[in-house]
């Protein structure tokens, strides 16, 4: 192979050789390199993680109170989400699945919109213009080929300064679309980062039931590119691994292939969704063991001990977060129900005559019987 830009050192390792920076207690591991992030960025990273955790708690509570529909919680996965999203530039694209509310916020989707979406209002999924964030995608793994296609189109347009990161879970690696999307990426050498949030459980099915392979990361080798494992509850390791993979994606002259798969090993502290009861299929002991790796205290300890943060600042951050979330909830809850004709507005660029008839029909029924006759309690 012709000499070119060398592959980032961090990626040049065996799939099972897990990238770690912080120990479970928040101290920097021997020989590990803290990523080159300014102090205020590190504090910002911490703030986003705290925000994501607190938002998650409030969202679950809203669902329990009947103020929101089914919601997929993210607690435990903040480092993977915020750490990876932080490594993306504004020009880079993020293709989510459906649990990455924290990462979406980093990419410019407001908390209000995330709440609206899970409150059943599709305006919540309308990513603001200028934000390089794709829509939430509910079916498993099907967003992976989209990310490959987006990246491929960018490459065909001769762009080289844009990377495309896609999230999916451990369960998704068993789907055909994982294979097909990864395979196209390898064949066409697309600027992708395939970021697997391995949270150990696909609803009730454990990671070892998804594959007999030792790691998920090693699957990348079958597609001709690198796969690395990272401690997904270590935000500094996640940031470093993602930054390296993004750099590789943006190097058309790189020695190695442009796509990389990252398996972020982590744990979902809560339920799959608010409709799920994890006590049916997993032991509380297991949850407690993983809580020892909780990413938030780990980063907090690191920041405190390196003098980047103090208790006073933490308190200020907590107050600020509380207010930000409360405001978002107020805004989302005071958003009126969308007007029913909105249902007919976005199927096609231009409404069909039959849709127009159906819209008129619905409006006539509303007028005749009133909305109360139509709406369930």
């Amino acid at each position: 192979m012709a000499a070119g830009v060398p592959v980032p050192e961090l990626l040049d390792r065996d799939p099972g050789d897990r990238i770690q920076v912080l120990d479970d207690d928040g101290s920097v591991r021997e020989g590990a390199t803290v990523p080159d992030l300014a102090d205020d960025r590190l504090v910002e990273l911490y703030r986003y993680m705290k925000l994501a955790r607190r938002f998650d708690q409030r969202a679950v509570s809203l669902q329990r109170q009947g103020r929101m529909g089914t919601y997929p919680p993210l607690s435990g996965q903040e480092a993977a989400q915020i750490g990876s999203a932080f490594a993306l530039g504004e020009e880079d694209w993020l293709v989510p699945s459906y649990r990455e509310h924290g990462a979406a916020l980093v990419k410019g989707l407001s908390l209000k919109q995330t709440l609206l979406y899970w409150m059943g209002n599709e305006q919540g999924n309308r990513v603001p213009e200028g934000s390089n964030l794709f829509t939430v995608s509910v079916p498993i793994a099907t967003q992976i080929p989209h990310a490959t296609g987006l990246a491929w189109a960018s490459k065909l347009k001769d762009e080289s300064e844009t990377a495309f990161l896609v999230y999916f879970g451990d369960g998704a690696t068993s789907e055909g679309d994982f294979h097909e999307g990864m395979n196209f990426a390898g064949v066409f050498d697309t600027p992708n980062v395939f970021f697997c949030n391995n949270n150990q459980w696909a609803i009730s099915v454990p990671r070892e039931r998804q594959t007999a392979a030792e790691t998920l990361a090693q699957k990348a080798q079958a597609y001709g590119f690198r796969g690395v494992q990272v401690d997904g509850m270590d935000p500094l390791a996640v940031y470093a691994a993602t930054e390296a993979a993004v750099e590789q994606a943006k190097s058309p002259d790189a020695e190695g292939p442009r796509p990389t798969m990252i398996e972020a090993v982590q744990y979902r502290f809560g339920a799959h969704t608010t409709a799920d009861d994890p006590s049916v299929y997993r032991d509380e002991d297991e949850v407690e063991r993983w809580k020892q790796k909780d990413p938030i205290p780990r980063l907090e300890t690191f920041l405190l001990e390196t003098g980047r943060l103090d208790e006073e600042r933490i308190e200020a951050i907590e107050d600020d977060i509380e207010e930000q979330i409360a405001t978002a909830i107020d805004e989302a809850e005071s958003e009126p129900r969308p007007e029913p004709p909105e249902m007919f507005e976005y199927t096609y660029a231009e409404q069909t005559p039959r849709q127009a008839e159906q819209q008129d029909y619905l409006e006539a029924i509303r007028e005749r019987f009133g909305d109360d006759a139509i709406l369930e309690d």
């Binding site: 829509t135 080929p145 490959t148 491929w152 189109a153 055909g176 976005y346 096609y348 660029a349």
Partner: protein
């Protein structure tokens, strides 16, 4: 200037002229490159436009449709080919769950204006899953448009209109008539608008609604029966959205109708047409709407396929039934 082309040559000509006009248009699929497609629908395009615009993909239908969605969302105009419509199903999830829904899901921020081409229909003595007509599947899904041309001229114009359309289009090509006849096809790009049916033969006694490869045998039946029944033959061309105005207008004139399609009867588009006629023109109706269709069976291997397809005898018998009621 015009050239006398077959239907499959018109596909190729439409792709060629549109690619020459618009750099965003790319062709992708299995064997579409150096091989020129198993039916030669992309012949010569690889040499002319290169491997970045005429892309041989892995054998991977969901990968083809799924990546095409990403490409379309990023501003390209991909025209993926599925080698036979019977092989669409691995990509069906991508088509239904994403291509059809992206605009709605994102409330207009994103869309997937791709044109998914696939040869469809029976009559070519092919192996299993090479002969089906599944236009009803695609027409049932809001967000997709569905086109089945029946002539070379329309093929080129509809294909170009589909590529220019802002929404995803399933473009099903009746392979039985890929090379059956030629027609003058204009040089350069032109559009035959989506959503508009063509009245192929005007008549006063009975309207026959059909599309794709069934159009020519239906027109032949109209000539055979011309001394007894004055048939109007309407080629729908677009199956979603259907041109209801033309259907209803024709029916109001004749008061009798038959629908001819290759697909099985139950849940086929004939049912939708019959229901719409009753809703819109009941008081004009003089006979039940006759559905002349494939049977509710798996499409048979070719030893029996002539018995499956609604060919001349069934078309004539069905039309008489509706006329003599």
């Amino acid at each position: 200037m015009a050239e006398s082309l077959t239907l499959v040559q018109a596909v190729r000509d439409g792709l060629h002229d549109k690619m020459a006009e618009d750099d965003a248009v790319i062709v992708m699929g299995e064997d579409v490159g150096a091989n020129g497609g198993v039916f030669r629908a992309t012949e010569g395009l690889y040499d002319e436009f290169g491997e970045d615009r005429v892309i041989d993909t892995p054998l991977s239908e969901s990968g083809i449709v799924g990546t095409a969605i990403g490409m379309a969302a990023y501003g390209l105009k991909p025209v993926p080919e599925i080698q036979f419509s019977g092989f669409m199903y691995p990509g069906f999830d991508q088509l239904i769950s994403h291509a059809a829904r992206l605009r709605n899901r994102s409330r207009g921020r994103f869309s997937a204006p791709l044109v998914l081409r696939a040869p469809m229909g029976g009559g070519i003595r092919a192996p299993e899953l090479h002969s089906e007509s599944k236009e009803a599947f695609y027409s049932h899904e809001p967000g997709l448009k569905v086109v089945i041309p029946s002539t070379p001229h329309d093929t080129k114009g509809l294909l170009i209109a589909a590529i220019d359309d802002p929404d995803p289009v399933v473009f099903l090509e009746p392979k039985k008539i890929y090379r059956s006849f030629r027609e003058d096809v204009p040089d350069g790009t032109y559009e035959v608008p989506l959503g508009e049916a063509a009245v192929r033969r005007e008549g006063a006694d009975l309207s026959v609604f059909t599309w794709g490869a069934m159009t020519r045998p239906t027109l032949a039946a109209a000539e055979t029966l011309a001394d007894e029944i004055d048939l109007e033959v309407v080629d729908l061309r677009t199956l979603s959205p259907i041109d209801w105005d033309t259907i209803v207008e024709s029916f109001k004139k004749t008061g009798r109708a038959a629908v001819v399609h290759e697909a099985p009867k139950t849940g086929g588009l004939g049912a939708e047409i019959a229901a719409t006629i009753q809703e819109e023109a009941l008081l004009y109706q003089e006979a039940p709407v006759e559905r002349i269709t494939g049977f509710d069976v798996q499409y048979p291997l070719y030893a029996l396929e002539d018995y499956y397809l609604p060919e001349a005898a069934r078309v004539e018998a069905g039309i008489r039934e509706a006329f003599e009621f």
